[in-house]
């Protein structure tokens, strides 16, 4: 076979198979480090043999088998140098070909390991992105705007913890599943948010984070009919459906009410709606499904004015019962402003701000500014836009706030637009 064809096949195989091969090798070899070495060896073997012998029909199985064989071979050689062969684990000498298991199961197992509650939250995210999503340490560092050594240490510490605690590579038992699922869903949610919220930095990596979060969300939702797993996937799909309309051609932020709704991805929205139906049918919905339900009402509305704000306020009330965070209270206050008018909304937002927890949160001040602007209180609006601007860090958000502030400064007539 032509060497350049073989090289191209190898690169394709790496992109498509590496994470799955790694997940299976971690199960077979019982640890991250051995599996990563085996993965490296497997691709080295492929680089040697595929150009000569042709590309195997089942590349995943070939790579798993090659990686496992070379590792066992190396362990045998090393133990011959240091100790007697008898000291090897018994299974290595017997070494039966492992029974083929669904590679998806191995990936799921790996997600649960990487999101193990024993690990620090930072460590869970870094480990999941590297071991399950296949990102390099440097890519994760760029996406999170921290240094590569910081990420490297989080990963080293997380792996050491798993090794020290002898965490088994298996799916949690059914009794434990919902508690363990919570940690997995949170990691997926945080990965998605990181990809979605930020508008600075290398945009390609950011979009990749969202795509990977959705892939992981699908994988987890396929495991069980858990309302929150379905809800989180629906929530991510609904946000993803609007991605293209969030930023205009100049890189400026476009608010929900001004987005071109004809460009929202309808297939994505339909899929999310079907997932939500399944989630609500379980009658055990939590914060993700409720947030998704709110996003779905926005997606179903033909315009901001045509939105069912009564339903949205009611859903925020339900969300407030399961998630008492100040950000939920803030969002409810903004929805109230849409339902009952700017004055009512302004009073509600000010009540939330008075509790003090959101004093450093730029979006809270931006919300107050926007409601004050709509209520015709230009001076209060200006003060809040300035406060928001002092706290905001993302360039697109800053430009948006600066534009609003400039419009207000041109006079009260412009302020009401």
């Amino acid at each position: 076979m032509n060497p350049s064809d073989a090289r191209a096949a190898l690169e394709t195989a790496y992109r498509a198979e590496a994470r799955r091969v790694l997940a299976t090798l971690i199960r077979l070899l019982g640890g991250f480090d051995a599996a990563e070495e085996a993965l490296h060896d497997a691709f080295a073997a492929a680089a040697e043999q595929w150009p000569r012998d042709g590309i195997p029909a089942n590349r995943t199985a070939w790579l798993v088998s090659a990686g496992r064989f070379r590792t066992i071979d190396r362990w045998r050689k090393q133990s011959r140098l240091t100790t007697a062969l008898a000291d090897l684990p018994a299974w290595m000498n017997a070494a039966p070909e492992p029974s083929p298991s669904d590679p998806l199961d191995d990936e799921l197992r790996l997600i649960f390991i990487c999101c193990h509650p024993q690990l620090a939250p930072d460590g869970r995210i870094a480990l999941t992105l590297r071991e399950v999503a296949g990102l390099t340490t440097e890519e994760i560092a760029r996406a999170y705007l921290v240094s590569a050594p910081t990420i490297a240490q989080r990963i080293v510490r997380a792996k050491a913890k798993l090794r020290d605690e002898a965490v088994p590579f298996e799916l949690p038992a059914l009794a434990e599943l919902s508690a363990r699922l919570e940690s997995v869903l949170l990691v997926i949610y945080l990965i998605f948010n990181e990809g979605y919220a930020a508008t600075s930095g290398p945009s390609l990596t950011r979009a990749d984070l969202c795509a990977e979060a959705i892939r992981l969300g699908r994988l987890v939702a396929s495991l069980c009919d858990d309302a929150e797993a379905l809800g989180l996937l629906a929530l991510m799909l609904l946000h993803e459906a609007r991605r293209a309309t969030r930023i205009d051609a100049h890189g400026n932020l476009v608010l929900l009410e001004h987005q071109d709704r004809s460009r929202w991805d309808r297939d994505c929205i339909r899929e999310a709606e079907a997932l939500l139906e399944r989630a609500f049918a379980t009658r055990r919905v939590g914060p993700y499904a409720l947030q998704a339900a709110i996003a779905a009402i926005h997606s179903a509305a033909a315009s901001a004015d045509a939105t069912d704000w009564h339903e949205i306020v009611a859903l925020y009330d339900a969300l407030g019962c399961v998630d008492s965070s100040p950000v939920v209270r803030l969002n409810r206050a903004v929805a109230l402003g849409m339902r009952d008018g700017a004055e009512a909304g302004l009073a509600a937002v000010e009540a939330v701000l008075a509790q003090g927890e959101l004093d450093e949160y730029h979006l809270a001040h931006a919300a107050r500014a926007d409601l004050a602007r709509r209520a015709g209180r230009a001076e209060a609006a200006r003060a809040s836009y300035r406060r928001a601007l002092a706290l905001a860090r993302q360039p697109a958000e800053r430009r948006f706030l600066e534009t609003r502030l400039a419009q207000l400064s041109t006079g009260p007539a412009a302020a009401k637009q």
Binding site: D33, E36, E37, H40, D41, A44, R74, L81, R130, T136, T137, E138, E139, A148, P149, I151, A152, I155, V156
Partner: protein, 121 residues
């Protein structure tokens, strides 16, 4: 990506003739060959002791050459390996296998990617 593993150790520990030191020195050759066989090792050299080194500086167009370096610390640069690894964590994993890491330490430094802008300090 390429990384340089800078290997630091105290020569008084490495060459003290103890069983531990001798086992590390004995492991270096086979480990190099294994790294090479596995495609990680690009190149590497062991360095003679600093007493055989000369330090060169040019200031105001004048060159000066002095003996040394003479360092405050006991650990000195004893060698380096240029390795190929997927990312920083794989490089750390490879570095942890270098036998000298058991006696001294290994500094892992990413090789500069000149397609990226220079750091602003």
């Amino acid at each position: 990506m390429r990384y340089v593993c800078l290997i630091y150790f105290d020569p008084k520990v490495v060459f003290n003739g103890s069983d531990e030191s001798n086992s590390v020195l004995g492991a270096v050759g086979p480990h190099d060959r294994e790294l090479e066989a596995r495609g990680h090792l690009v190149t590497g050299e062991a360095l003679e002791l600093p007493e055989n080194a000369v330090t060169v500086r040019v200031r105001d167009g004048k060159m000066s050459a002095t003996d040394g370096p003479f360092m405050e610390t006991k650990e000195m640069l004893g060698g380096f390996q240029l390795i190929e690894a997927r990312d920083l964590n794989e490089a750390v994993q490879v570095a942890s296998g270098i036998p000298f890491a058991r006696l001294g330490c290994v500094e892992v430094r990413p090789v500069v990617d000149f397609s990226q802008p220079r750091p602003k300090l």
